[in-house]
């Protein structure tokens, strides 16, 4: 009995090894978790479905975060080219809570951003994505796998993000 079980176990391990090889890609990648947020108008959005139209940049920001605004304003100037070249969509997730949430559309429109803007006032998506501090930017492929992330913004970081985006688009 023991012998049979042992050989079963060995066989199982072998099986698992091959299974793991097949899954190695899937295991490494982290998927965007499903959280239900709303946009600036109150329309429901499931975060797991953000990549329906191609790759996505998810950028966590707040109206009170100067470097976040610097990053998104810098990308704003390059965004039309990025969209044309790679089909990317930028989703700016505002983590402003009720204190400053109503200022989000004022800033977004005042700056004429073309991004998809989602509201995360109680930090449900921020928590699920493992974000410690803002700005935190993620690059997600069209299958929903997070392929790159960066927790900071300094001038020039947009260049690295663009390189990663080109790599993802196979360009």
């Amino acid at each position: 009995m023991k012998k049979v079980l042992f050989s079963l176990f060995v066989a199982f391990l072998a099986l698992q090894a091959t299974a793991q090889d097949a899954h190695v890609e899937a295991n490494v990648a982290k998927k965007v978790p499903s959280v239900k947020l709303v946009d600036m108008k109150g329309k429901a959005v499931n975060t797991a479905e953000l990549t329906a139209n191609g790759p996505v940049i998810i950028s966590f920001w707040a109206t009170w975060c100067a470097p976040c605004k610097k990053e998104l304003n810098t990308v704003h100037e390059l965004y039309a080219d990025w969209v044309e070249e790679t089909g990317v969509t930028l989703v700016a997730v505002a983590i402003d809570d009720e204190k400053t949430k109503s200022q989000v559309p004022v800033y977004v429109n005042g700056k004429a951003w073309d991004y998809v803007v989602l509201m995360d006032p109680n930090w449900d998506f921020k928590r699920a994505m493992g974000v410690n501090n803002v700005p935190h930017t993620f690059l997600v492929d069209k299958e929903g796998n997070i392929v790159y992330s960066h927790n900071n913004y300094a001038p020039g970081d947009e260049e690295k993000l663009y390189q990663e985006l080109l790599k993802l688009s196979g360009k």
Partner: protein
């Protein structure tokens, strides 16, 4: 034999997890080595070294979800609430979620509407965590319709590595309906409508020998959001039943909270007008607690959150939950590229005004000597002439050329220190602050950023101006994407007490690799929201070495 079986079981479980599950999470660890510094009143703790750590792990597999946070305070860093010690599990849950139902058992964070009735949330930087521990059910029975129910005890503290609950029980239900998603005839209408309503109740045993206290206290009300083309309006009103507590000195008045926002936006322009009225609205699951303990609702102040350190750290305003009436106006406009004021890259101008007053209390027909303990009348948005807070500020953001960009800001702040008590001064403190920030992009990866800040505190009738004038200078050098170095000094050059004309120098270096960030700083820090090298976090006053590591996975 038994071992072999459990080994197989374990391997199977592992296999299952590895094959299909998705794990996300993050961690942070902060080490402080603090010096004694009598000048800024910073004490050296007996342990000398302090260490805070936590890690969140969230697991999902298909519709199943589970998560936990391990926390460790060995001992807690300075400025953290004094009821955190030990190592253990501070939050954990299991749940199931599909497009119709979302069930969570264990710890959860939830917000109803704008949070006037219920908001449980965490801010690890501040040590704030009022999570609910119990059951939450979210139903989505039709398009645009969300119904939530919560039932649980709140987290009060974390001692000897264990979560400690507050004394009361919290129950609540909330419904929200987005008409344009849910009703077919509203689908393509230009008018967008969201309606919602909440009811939250707390139970706490009456163990008070002096009064007959209500054991169940309810808060209820509704909200509406309307959007039409470029216009937007929302409003929420909540009423609280009689809730005698140590906050309101055991009075039997009803309480209320109301907010509204009116907004107009178009390309390059945003205008916002907001109002808020609060009276007797402190709502806790333990009536004897104070400060940040077991608050069920959320009453933020109605003003802009400033980030430059003199504005953010010296005279910040927080809501007076016992009562205030506040208004705010916020405008942002971008002069287009190529226009006279816009220049080559466009120019953005922001204007913000906020003001807060004490509400008006009347005694019409109230007998203070009867046994009702209803001690005043208060109508929503009825304000007295006693000022709590006023802030007028504007800023101009301009990119000059490929290399240079800058921001010029000005603030005029009045704060009633008899009410807010941010320092020793009496009466209204009136401060003016100017900040000039510049960024010079040396090349693609190297950049230099600097800030010059001045704060001028006006003298009152008695010739006093609190701690007097301040100046701050900051230089930051960044090498994208991996490194930053910064030096900042704050100088209280205008303090009337010459011995308190103190410098607060601090040097910070950081290294960032993807989702991992390591920073090391040494020097003196004032309390407040501290922004450096691209990230903002609130910190307490101290003097010494601080090492911080964050990672997301």
């Amino acid at each position: 034999m038994k071992h072999l079986l459990s080994l197989i079981g374990f391997t199977c479980a592992l296999q299952l997890v590895q094959a299909q599950g998705n794990i996300t999470g993050n961690m942070e660890t902060t080490f402080q080595y603090l010096n004694e510094d009598s000048i800024i009143n910073a004490k050296q703790p007996v342990q000398k070294g302090l260490l805070n750590s936590y890690m969140n792990v969230f697991y999902t597999q298909g519709n199943f979800k589970a998560g936990m946070r391990l926390e460790s305070y060995l001992p807690r860093i300075q400025g953290y609430p004094n009821r955190f010690d030990g190592t253990g599990i501070g939050m954990r849950y299991v749940g199931y979620q599909n497009n119709f139902v979302d069930v969570t058992l264990g710890s959860f964070y939830e917000q109803f509407g704008s949070g006037l009735a219920l908001r449980t949330y965490e801010d690890r930087n501040l040590g704030y965590d009022n999570l609910l521990d119990g059951v939450r059910i979210v139903l989505r029975p039709g398009k645009g319709l969300v119904v939530k129910g919560v039932y649980g005890n709140q987290r009060l503290s974390f001692q000897k590595g264990q979560m400690i609950h507050g004394a009361g029980l919290v129950r609540g239900v909330d419904g929200e309906f987005h008409l344009n998603e849910g009703l077919s005839f509203m689908k393509d209408k230009a008018l967008d409508v969201v309606l919602g309503a909440s009811f939250v109740s707390k139970f706490q045993e009456d163990d008070n020998p002096d009064w007959i206290l209500p054991q169940n206290v309810g808060v209820y009300g509704g909200r509406v959001k309307l959007a039409y083309k470029n216009f937007y309006a929302d409003a929420e009103f909540m009423q609280k039943e009689q809730d005698p507590s140590s906050d309101n000195k055991y009075i039997y008045n009803y309480g209320h909270a109301a907010v509204f926002n009116l907004r107009y936006t178009q390309k390059c322009l945003g205008i916002l007008i907001s109002g808020k009225s609060v009276d007797n609205m402190s709502f806790r699951s333990d009536r004897t607690k104070d400060l940040q303990d077991v608050l069920i609702n959320y009453l933020p102040s109605l003003n802009k959150t400033h980030t430059y350190n003199l504005v953010a750290t010296l005279y910040p305003y927080a809501t007076q939950p016992m009562g205030e009436v506040a208004y705010q106006a916020d405008i942002l406009y971008t002069f287009k590229k190529g226009s006279k004021l816009g220049g080559k890259y466009g120019t953005t101008v922001g204007l913000n005004f906020s003001t807060t007053y004490q509400p008006k209390h009347t005694l019409n027909g109230i007998d203070l000597n009867d046994s009702s303990r209803v001690v005043y009348h208060c109508r929503p948005f009825d304000l007295s002439d006693s000022l709590y807070w006023q802030d007028i500020n504007f800023n101009v953001t301009k990119k000059l050329n490929k290399k240079w960009s800058g921001i010029l800001s000005f603030y005029d702040i009045k704060i009633n220190n008899d009410v807010v008590k941010v320092s020793e001064a009496k009466g209204i403190i009136h401060a003016r602050i100017a900040v000039l920030e510049g960024t010079y992009k040396i090349n693609t990866h190297h950049a230099l950023r600097w800030e010059l800040q001045g704060m001028w505190v006006q003298k009152n009738a008695a010739g006093l101006n609190d701690k007097g004038n301040w100046a701050t200078a900051l230089v930051e050098y960044t090498i994208s994407p991996g490194w930053f170095f910064s030096f900042m000094n704050q100088y209280n050059y205008g303090n009337a007490d010459v011995s308190k004309r103190v410098n607060y120098p601090i040097i910070t270096c950081g290294y960032i690799k993807d989702a991992t960030r390591l920073t090391v700083s040494y020097g003196r820090q004032r309390a407040g929201l501290f922004c450096v090298g691209g990230v903002c976090r609130p910190v307490p006053a101290n003097n010494g070495l601080m090492i911080n590591l964050t990672h997301s996975f």
